[in-house]
Amino acid sequence: MIYDWLFRLTGSETAAAIIQSLLPLFLFILPFALFAVLLERKVSAHMQDRLGPMRVGYHGILQTVADIIKLVQKEDIVAKDNDRLFFDLSPVIVFTGSYAAFAVIPFSGIFLGSNIDLGLIYIVAVTGLVVAGILMGGWASNNKYSLLGAMRAAAQIISYEIPTLLIILVVIMVSGTLNLYTLSEWQTSYFWNWLILGGPVFGIEKLLFIPLMMMSALIIFTSTLAEVNRTPFDIPEAESELVSGYHTEYSGMKFAMFFLAEYANMFAVAAIVSALFFGGFQSPFGYLGDLFNLPWLIPIEQFFWFTVKGIFFVFVQMWLRWTLPRFRVDQLMTFCWKYLIPFAFVILIIVGLITVLV
């Protein structure tokens, strides 16, 4: 484990913990956000018969770096009637909420922030903090568009947490653990053992689980998509209606923090979906490290597979965004309360019966 190595290196538990908690930020989230913004632009551009950014660097690969430099330089505009304290606090809370979720995400067999047993519940809890931040920002901006956006966001995120939690319950019933690391380990390194294909169980149980788990994966992907406010559920931002929703009034680095939080969130939910249903950091078909007897290679491979899965789901999110129109606020609620939640309940009951009876 990286923590043990850092502990030996620094000789202090606190220093090791701090360094380790900063590692995902500097090693992963920042580079990933830079990459994801560029990816989003390129994906959208190529879907729309365009080229996207082409000027900064080869095929525009340094475009986001240039953007960050621009954002850092920008004046931090605070309107006179803003509630200064909450206005400043809001982007910090939103970013903290989405960043804290990374603490329990197992990037690889040896690299996870904190191996706590309540991992899944923890993620749901800390991402709930984002709602508070968004509401705060919308209220403190003293702008009607921001307020409407924040209200929509709060209603939406809280509603969509219910189907997410119900599906998490399903996963807990099948696997018997709340710990994401254990869950990933449990799904072993072959794709037929992934939870989407019934998990590492055999016999009649597996056959019964496959359709249920596929539906569960679809539901949790949809509801987490709504939780991160991406199209077709981007009504809190809805640039054609609400200008840009709760972050209309923000500029410069504060805006960049919302932006960073959005992309961090995108990866976080992609990571959750892949950890729950797609084997987490496990390779779909064994490890080269095992094959060639190179044990040090395995964690690197695991990291590779985890990132690939994460980026794939992020790509799917972008793909949806640039294809689908946006729901209206009442249709969004209808979709959650009338379709996702009842379906999730039915799956929960059936899975419960199967685990008890079979």
Partner: protein
């Protein structure tokens, strides 16, 4: 303590991404439900009518371009037609054909902007660029013909400024060939998308009676199921020579006269425009395009109301001449000006997101509303 609620006033515009220009809508909201919509216009007022009184008749043409800047060809067309009728000028056949071809290309280009931005209003950004890709080719056709992409000054009183470019016919045919599959792609991507249908069907229903009483014209009127097209009902130029359908809204996905119907009428109108262009290209005669241009435009004292069917509806020019070289009065009956009036009626009881959908579906251009 009882909770108290109060009406919220939300100012949408003049700087807002989806009011299609500098339109300001004052929304009175109960939560997200609209109680009332009050449009405020005039932010783009450029004194067109006052300017026109100070200029000679031909000098007005470049100004008409700037009315509905997405359909400049048609504004010129309508103006030239009005003056020609007032003076009794006979226009050569070739000129009429070129005007019709240009007018119908302009209709397609304008509808592409309308549909693309409508998709963007609903939240689908990709169709917007697909539409602009095709519009770009039409603008290229205009550019090779008269040198301008947006404000042409091409159709003159009694003729045209230039004849067609030698490549024009070939490039038009290529465009028509490529455009039909693209239209089908747009239908698959947006028109029949379930979310899009949910957002637009049964929203902003405009009954036919109300529409006529409000003076609505163009695709917005036809979306309500009224078969009314000036090209057919009061033919001008040579539109009586062509075979084309007048699509009307049928309530296929919801109720007749909803946003989806108004949207779909535009899609089908583009197909009809392609048909007209194909026929016109087949039949176009040779000839001179500037032989009938009068040296001195001095209409007899009198008044005329002349109208054409632009992409947005009935564009009327009411011109009073006092027998001098300057018009005494030029009044533009702008289709968007009249169509926008109904928005308060349509939006009542809907949600904030629907205002955008309704506004996009009546397809306004602020240039001709504010003049």
């Amino acid at each position: 303590m009882a909770l108290k609620t109060e009406e919220m006033v939300l100012n949408m515009g003049p700087q807002h991404p989806s009011t299609h220009g500098v339109l300001r809508l004052e929304l009175k909201l109960e939560g997200e439900i609209i109680n009332d919509v009050i449009p405020h216009i005039g932010y783009l007022h450029r004194c067109f009518e006052k300017h026109a009184e100070a200029m000679t008749y031909p000098q007005v043409i470049p100004y008409t371009d700037r009315l509905d800047y997405l359909a400049s060809m048609y504004n010129e067309f309508g103006y030239a037609l009005a003056i020609e009728r007032l003076m009794g000028i006979e226009v050569p056949e070739r000129v009429e054909y070129i005007r019709v071809i240009m007018g119908e290309f302009q209709r397609i280009a304008s509808h592409l902007v309308a549909l693309g931005t409508y998709g963007a209003d609903i939240g689908a950004f990709t169709p917007f660029l697909f539409c602009f890709r095709d519009r770009e080719r039409i603008l290229h056709l205009f550019e090779i013909t008269c040198g301008a992409r947006l404000l042409y000054n091409y159709i003159w009183i009694g003729g045209l400024s230039h004849d067609l470019h030698p490549d024009f016919i070939r490039k038009s045919k290529e465009f028509i060939k490529d455009f039909r599959p693209n239209l089908k792609e747009l239908n698959e991507l947006l028109t029949y998308n379930q979310i899009f249908i949910d957002r637009t069907a049964n929203v902003g229903i405009l009954p036919a009676e109300t529409a006529i009483n409000y003076g609505i014209s163009g695709p917005s009127l036809r979306g309500s199921g009224v078969k009314w097209d000036i090209r057919r009902n009061d033919p001008y130029s040579i539109y009586d020579k062509f075979d084309f359908e007048i699509p009307v809204g049928t309530g296929e996905k919801g109720t007749a006269g909803d946003c989806w119907d108004r949207y779909y009428v535009r899609i089908r109108e583009m197909e009809e425009s392609l048909k007209i262009i194909e026929q016109a290209i087949e039949q176009i005669p040779q000839g001179d395009v500037s032989s009938a241009i009068p040296r001195r435009v001095k209409p007899p004292a009198g008044q005329i109301y002349s109208r054409v069917e632009t992409p947005r509806g009935e564009l009327g020019y009411f011109i009073i001449s006092d027998g001098s070289v300057n018009p005494q009065r030029v009044k533009v009956r702008a289709p968007s000006f009249v169509n926008l009036e109904v928005i308060g009626e349509l939006c009542k009881g809907h949600m904030v997101a629907d205002v955008i959908a309704i506004l996009g579906s009546i397809d306004i251009v602020l240039g001709e509303i504010d003049r």
